[in-house]
Symmetry: C2
Subunit: 558 residues, 2 copies
């Protein structure tokens, strides 16, 4: 099969106005960015408020493995398939970050014949949203150091600044830096850069409900503390207005198309560890207003991604999915079942059956949230019919349908079975808002919220809080942040905090090293182990293969 960029560049795309017209958006509802990309205009977005909302479908996955599960391709393939079976559907995805494009991971626009297009533009700059977020983040950082330089009246201490800088690049050397050197450039202090997807501004943009809420959330961002420990915010530094101005276009969802012609909103992309890992509330709402179905995805596996989609995004917005899809692959279940990575090529039905415990745990958890579930088996060429059949059989034993999907090779036609199952489940869920059971109530103490997630969803026996984390949680509650949800930051590869523990472990102690307040985004981050918020480049980065042809075409993207 040709590479992703060749498939994308060879596709005949429809003018974006035509894609928009299919869901009832006229010219006044669009701000075109080239011929195949548009933002929904502010007016267009305002008009959607009156439309009835469709049904929300959440695509999530088992614990990710090195083999790759294909959550984004399945989201796209399912959207195309729903449209093929006559159910008007809009897909809502996260925007790719530039960093991984030049590193190892490549783009984030799906693959094969389940892609959003134009993949080169979407993967490189797109409509500039992430650059706007970096600029807003770094303006606040510049205003923090400027306040210290001129002697600020808020009492912000140079040594107690927690706000770092952001760049949308994999740049290991910027993880930890000393700034203000040179003698006359202000206070010398240690800080660092995070990749833009890890910026709290990204999470704010994705959770904000309109310009006023955006400015209010930005103003609540804590940048550091005074000597006495009093929080200093972006609002205290008068930075929130200018940050909001920098985000004035970035808050508008981007409309593109899948290779199957499905209207797709690609908007926002917060990290799935120290943030909640979903596209923007604005885009999800717009997709619901535009389609009978809106299909969206959450980051990582269901233990982290779906949990935060529900306990953070749905809690703050009032959204509720009508059904969930769990993506699994034969290869990943074999890895969960203990097969070595270099032995994945040989048939091993026993390993698939052994690894199924991981999928079963995620099914149980999502059922616990009150969600109807269907499993998508994302087919690979190396799968055998017996391996796939084992998954279908084990799912049936758990009362769940599993569908073999070939959207990567066949586009939407390869996911029609899944689409029928999803539509049936969603149609039968008369009151998804009423059925949804969040894991904890707002008024539970922060420590107890973390414990409840760990015990209910991870099956830990308890959590082990560090002294520092305990102290910080108490402080956050004293400062009035006790009502916030918690954002779990742990390895995505295991239910535990140890990435090597696969399957469905239970009865372990989850260590909780530290906590961080994201008062603007509106959650308290609970860190189980170190989280790297600035990736590095590999020895031979993808960047070395990427180029610009004499005809202006990008080459070497994957």
């Amino acid at each position: 099969m040709p590479g992703d960029i060749e498939i994308s560049q060879a596709a005949t795309l429809e003018p974006i106005q035509q894609i928009a017209a299919r869901v009832g958006i006229g010219a006044e509802g669009l701000e075109p960015y080239g011929r195949h990309i548009a933002k929904l205009s502010r007016e267009g977005l305002a008009r959607l408020a009156d439309r009835p909302a469709g049904r929300l479908i959440l695509v999530t996955a088992i614990n990710p493995t090195a083999a790759g599960e294909g959550k984004t391709t399945t989201t796209i393939g399912l959207g195309d398939a729903l449209n093929r079976i006559g159910r008007k559907t809009v897909v809502a995805l996260r925007e790719p970050s530039l960093g991984p494009v030049f590193g190892r991971k490549g783009g984030a626009t799906g693959g094969g014949y389940a892609q959003v297009a134009p993949m080169d533009r979407i993967n490189l700059h797109f409509t500039g949203d992430f650059h706007a977020i970096s600029a807003a983040h770094n303006l606040l950082a510049a205003m923090v150091d400027n306040a210290i330089y001129w002697g600020n009246d808020r009492g912000l201490e140079a040594r107690r600044v927690t706000w770092r800088r952001a760049v949308d690049m994999n740049d290991r050397a910027l993880r930890q830096v000393a700034i203000g050197l040179g003698g006359t450039n202000g206070a010398v202090r240690e800080t660092g850069f995070d990749i833009t997807v890890a910026s709290e501004v990204m999470a704010v943009l994705c959770l904000a409900e309109g310009p006023d809420d955006l400015a209010a959330r930005l103003a609540r961002i804590v940048v550091g503390r005074t000597r006495e420990g009093v929080a200093v915010t972006a609002g205290d530094l008068e930075a929130a207005g200018a940050m909001a101005a920098l985000l004035s276009e970035a808050v508008l969802p981007n409309l593109v198309q899948t290779l199957g012609g499905t209207p797709t909103l690609v908007h926002g992309g917060p990290f799935a560890n120290i943030a909640h890992g979903c596209n923007s509330v604005t885009a999800t709402r717009a997709a619901l207003a535009l389609g009978e179905f809106a299909v969206t995805e959450a980051g990582f596996g269901a233990d982290l991604g779906a949990e935060k989609f529900l306990n953070i995004k749905c809690r703050s917005s009032g959204l509720a999915p009508s059904a969930a899809v769990i993506v699994a692959t034969v290869r990943a279940l074999k890895l969960q079942g203990g097969v070595a990575k270099d032995a994945l090529g040989s048939e091993d039905v026993a390993a698939v059956r052994a690894g199924f415990v991981n999928l079963a745990r995620h099914i149980e958890n999502l059922h616990g949230f009150g969600l109807p579930v269907v499993v998508a088996i994302n087919a690979f060429f190396s799968d055998t019919a017996e391996e796939q059949a084992a998954i279908v059989e084990l799912c049936a034993a758990h009362g769940v349908e599993a569908h073999i999907c070939t959207h990567w090779a066949d586009g939407g036609a390869g996911a029609e079975g899944l689409a029928h199952a999803v539509a049936a489940l969603a149609d039968a869920n008369a009151d998804p808002g009423g059925a949804l059971k969040l894991t904890y109530a707002d008024d539970l103490p922060l420590e107890q919220k973390i414990r409840t997630v760990a015990q209910t969803l991870y099956r830990a026996s308890d959590i082990a809080l560090s002294a520092a984390a305990k102290k910080d949680l108490a402080r956050f509650e004293a400062e009035g942040h006790g009502h916030l949800p918690v954002c779990m930051a742990k390895t995505p590869y295991s239910f535990t905090a140890d990435e090597k523990v696969s399957g469905a472990p239970q009865g372990f102690i989850l260590p909780l090293d530290s906590v961080r307040l994201s008062a603007g985004a509106g959650f308290v981050v609970a860190l189980c182990g170190a989280v790297n918020t600035m990736p590095g480049l590999p020895r031979v980065p993808s960047a070395e293969r990427i180029g610009l042809g004499p005809d202006g075409r990008i080459t070497g993207l994957d």
Copy 2:
């Protein structure tokens, strides 16, 4: 009069397609970015190659002062006025940088009724060109440190890296930083961040003639040296292709309109000190293909801006202006004549006459380049008729027309006299390419090029090279860069290197502290004194006044 942003937001703009149609660009020639901004498409740009070129008008100025000269407003006003008198004209300007918008200086889209619009979008992000340049710059930086981290086979020495990082923000604390801290993040070394307009990538983009030349120039960028002193380039690190890919849209000129409806290409914006300070060659060529006249501006005063426009941009591209406009103001000439800044409000004809020596020197210099010259007196409310008349009279004595221009208050109608004079001069210049006399030949040694500029244009008696500069120039010549033009970096406020020396000094020694090779851009920078390539924010930055209204409108920009 209302503020600039109020005037801009109250204006009824034409759809950008209509503006484009006026100069013969159809839908296929445009990539719209919203309704009032578009990029010329690659196809559209290719088609322009066959059109006959119009006449180029260069707008420059006397040495700038704190009073402001209004070079951009005059460029816009002249463009509007030429269209009003029936001469089809396209304006070509530089793009604004985000840094000054949030600092002290404000936007860079003209002012009053001589503005390009929409000013809020153009001043904030625009079409993302500067973000793309920052990304390309920082990708190279990440690849530099990554090569060192993994042990590169080019022998690049951590201590000899000269490539810094870039951000489009005024951020004093990033001027000098230590990176790679933390023990496992690579080589700890000192470096810093420049504002994006100071990036060599910006200068490369502005001088490149198409995708192949762009990639070739990027590949020539020197990032550091080996222990033995051998230059290591972006090409050696295999970074140039990915950098070019990041710039694939940024190389396309942006089309907007003036408030008078004049099609305007706003594209690129390199620093006028350590770079050449003009919009892109691509945009200037496009403007010439689209209009009977193309009006463009150069940075700072004529000693730096026009000199580099001619000796760098025109030399490499073969462009040649048909006429030059020197912008002067009563207030600035008074300052040149020794009046204190707080006394500018009172009439002082004698000071205007005394300050005229500065304008006279610039007239002589431009005549020396073989350019017909006209002076634009950019009127201020505080000017008196006698003061303005003195300038007209003194210009006449130098054989040059001077026109009082009120475009700031009146739009293009206020610059019609200037427009008639400019058109007459340009019409009479039958062979501008033949008439143009560059200051030095390509084959003159680098040191001699610098001396020739200093003696011919600044009227220095000689230059005083530091030992380091002498050694570096010899090395650049030994490495085969002796044919490059020189890019003078000195204070814009004086013909000398001392910003306090106003008027028309002569017979001084110009100190030359250091030189830098910009092998990608294609010039050798000669630094007379320290140049700050990362501005700081003032005690009360403009950012504190900027905001986003509930209707999505930006407020507080000026």
